[in-house]
């Protein structure tokens, strides 16, 4: 890493979910806003500590379901009334027979929206990220917990922020190169 270059941020390593949660709360309390917390599993309360809310996924599910359902019903309706009208006893085919396919595609539409929405809103797939430059970060998927304060944070100062992180009693604090 070029010494004069600004790092991506500072990362502190913790050994338990409780320590990470406490550290995230302190960092947020100290006014840091560009904070990332990494854990090998969901930690109850961690996203709230970072004041993160994303209700878009359930809205996407609703939208996907509506598109899948109405789309499939409309397709069938178009097929039997407009494109290839079927006249059965003077009537077009009864709509209840069109419902099973409509239901299946409603569920599929919602599920696709949830799945793709979750990945895309999280910016995944993203194979490279600066935190991967930290060698000990490979334990973040197994048994270690990390808190990263980005250098773009308004309150970020290499010395002060390092001092702040040290006082949270982490296992260690390291620079993350950009």
């Amino acid at each position: 890493m070029n010494a004069s270059q600004q790092p991506y941020g500072l990362i502190a390593e913790f050994s338990s979910p409780a320590a990470l949660l406490a550290a995230a709360r302190s960092a947020h309390g100290a006014g840091y806003r560009r904070i990332e917390a990494y854990a090998p599993m969901p930690v109850e309360g961690l996203a709230e500590a970072l004041e993160f809310h994303d209700h878009a996924i359930s809205m996407l599910a609703l939208a996907g379901g509506i598109v899948g359902g109405i789309g499939t019903f409309a397709l069938q309706w178009f097929s039997v009334t407009v494109d290839y009208p079927l006249n059965i006893g003077g009537r077009t085919p009864a709509w209840p027979g069109l419902i099973p396919s409509t239901f299946e595609m409603t569920v599929l539409g919602a599920a696709l929206a949830v799945f793709l929405g979750t990945l895309l809103r999280s910016g995944l797939p993203q194979l490279y990220h600066p935190v991967f430059n930290e060698p000990s970060f490979s334990a973040a998927s197994s048994d270690r917990f990390f808190l990263c304060i980005e250098a773009t944070d308004a309150r970020f100062d290499l010395q002060q922020t390092r001092g702040f992180l040290e006082q949270l009693q982490p296992v260690k604090v390291s620079d993350v190169s950009a």
Binding site: A18, A39, F52, S58, S101, E104, S142
Partner: protein, 472 residues
């Protein structure tokens, strides 16, 4: 909780396995053994994929299953060359092994995602250690089930005519046919199960990526993990998505097998034309799927020494579910006979009696023994705590469920309204080759799964451990 959690490797882990999981039969909750830490969970489960040398039994089983898979694809290839005449079916029995296998496999596929989704929604922590392989079971069984409706067509290369797509023939699917509903149902269920499975796998792939030693494994798992880094915001969405997909999966499962039931119920063939079919099929599907999950659970637990993740309590709970579903199914059998009598329709009554004392009577009574009588052993606590007995019962149940589908499908067709149109069905070697080969191919897929994909969700195990430590 403010104290740092114990985070040491448990070096003597293998010796402590099983012992911790025995004696704690009383509490309803499933506990991981206290020797586990976040590190030991990752070590143990990812180790099966990354560091464990290939066991001898695996190599032998893989060779055998590869041979059976070749039998399966060989039988299908010959079918494509020669046509459905190689099978024993002919008018009046035009649906036989093909559709029996289809219903049997799709039923096995029903409960994997259901187990995992329903237990997730009801916050049953014991679902965590069986959900991953149950979902894998669903996907593999569903993929195999999907082959049968295609190969049972006289002209299988036109199977895509089921899909509504713009074409120059002005051709549309028959929207009101359950066979078209089946197409949409299987498509939705397969894709949803895959997404549900893969979403849960992404963080586990990240663990494998970070722990892998070889470059090829790092690249392969790195690509599969999509760059997952465990960010709190991503976890938040991941969790919400998992819950939503679980909520979508449960009604979907019920609808899919109901549609399979409607494949029969909408026909006017005696023995099929009954409104009880959709719920009856769903109950049967849960039953055989739970049994298959039991078969796989007992084998995996033994093969990879997973007694501290898949505890006696898990098998006990699964056995109770099997028992409950078996009772629902036994009730359905009784109702089927009752409704045949109550309808006062001579063809319905004859079909019911013909099943019990006609030429296929041995199949009927064998299935009653396998599906209704044998599972009653599960009332006994001792039986529920004997893994190999459970294994035996689960195999018997799935044999019985295959016989049930065969009985339902074949006896209804072989003697319907006109005695002059009656006939018998006898399977040929190709019928058997396709059935046995499909089982071999299923096992082949499972064998690959256990070597390349973590067979228990490490994420959910860590969550369970965190809850335990937080609560203690």
């Amino acid at each position: 909780m403010t104290t740092a959690t114990p985070d040491t490797f448990a070096p003597d882990l293998p010796s402590s396995l099983g012992a911790a999981s025995r004696g704690e039969g009383k509490s309803m909750a499933v506990r991981l053994s206290d020797t586990h830490s976040f590190a030991s969970i990752s070590e143990k489960i990812s180790g099966i994929v990354l560091t464990m040398p290939t066991p001898r039994w695996w190599t032998i089983a893989f060779a055998l299953c590869s041979a059976l898979s070749l039998v399966f694809f060989g039988a299908i290839s010959y079918l494509f060359y020669e046509g459905v005449g190689i099978w024993g079916l002919n008018v009046p029995v035009v649906w036989a092994f093909d559709i029996t296998n289809y219903v049997w496999w799709i039923a096995i596929a029903m409960s994997g995602t259901f187990i995992s989704a329903a237990l997730h929604l009801t916050r049953q922590p014991w679902g965590a250690s069986i959900s991953r392989f149950a979902e894998a079971m669903t996907i593999f069984a569903l993929a195999i089930a999907g082959i049968f409706p295609i190969i049972h067509l006289g002209r299988p290369w036109f199977f895509y005519w089921l899909a509504p797509y713009p074409n120059v023939m002005s051709l549309w699917p028959q929207w009101r046919s359950p066979l078209v509903w089946d197409f949409f149902a299987i498509l939705a269920y397969l894709l949803l199960s895959l997404m549900f499975w893969y979403l849960g796998l992404i963080p586990d792939f990240a663990t494998l990526r970070d722990r892998a030693r070889s470059r090829s494994a790092q690249i392969a798992y790195g690509l599969l993990a999509l760059g997952w880094r465990g960010e709190a915001r991503h976890w938040q969405r991941h969790r919400g998505a998992h819950l939503l997909l679980a909520g979508l999966a449960v009604p979907l499962v019920v609808s899919v097998h109901s549609v399979v039931g409607l494949d029969f119920a909408t026909g006017n063939t005696p023995g099929w034309h009954s409104t009880i079919f959709p719920p009856f099929f769903v109950a049967g599907a849960m039953f055989s799927g739970f049994a298959m999950a039991m078969t796989i659970a007992v084998l995996l637990r033994r093969a990879f020494d997973l007694g501290d993740f898949i505890t006696d309590r898990h098998l006990d709970n699964l056995a109770k579910l099997i028992l409950a579903m078996g009772l629902v199914l036994a009730y359905s059998y009784v109702m089927e006979i009752f409704m045949a009598w109550y309808s006062a329709d001579r063809y319905e009554v004859y079909t019911a009696l013909n099943r019990m004392r006609g030429p296929y009577a041995p199949v009927y009574w064998a299935l009653i023994v396998c599906v209704v009588v044998v599972p009653q052993a599960l009332w006994s606590r001792r039986v529920r705590h004997a893994p190999w007995v459970l294994f035996g019962i689960s195999i018997v149940i799935n044999v019985g469920m295959w016989l049930e589908r065969f009985m339902l499908i074949v006896t209804s067709q072989h003697r319907d309204f006109l005695p002059s149109a009656w006939g018998m069905f006898y399977p040929t070697i190709w019928d058997w080759a396709t059935l046995v080969g499909s089982i071999g191919f299923f096992a082949w897929l499972l064998l690959l799964f256990v070597r390349f994909i973590p067979l228990i969700s490490m994420t959910e195990m860590r969550e369970l451990l965190a809850q335990q430590q937080g609560g203690s």
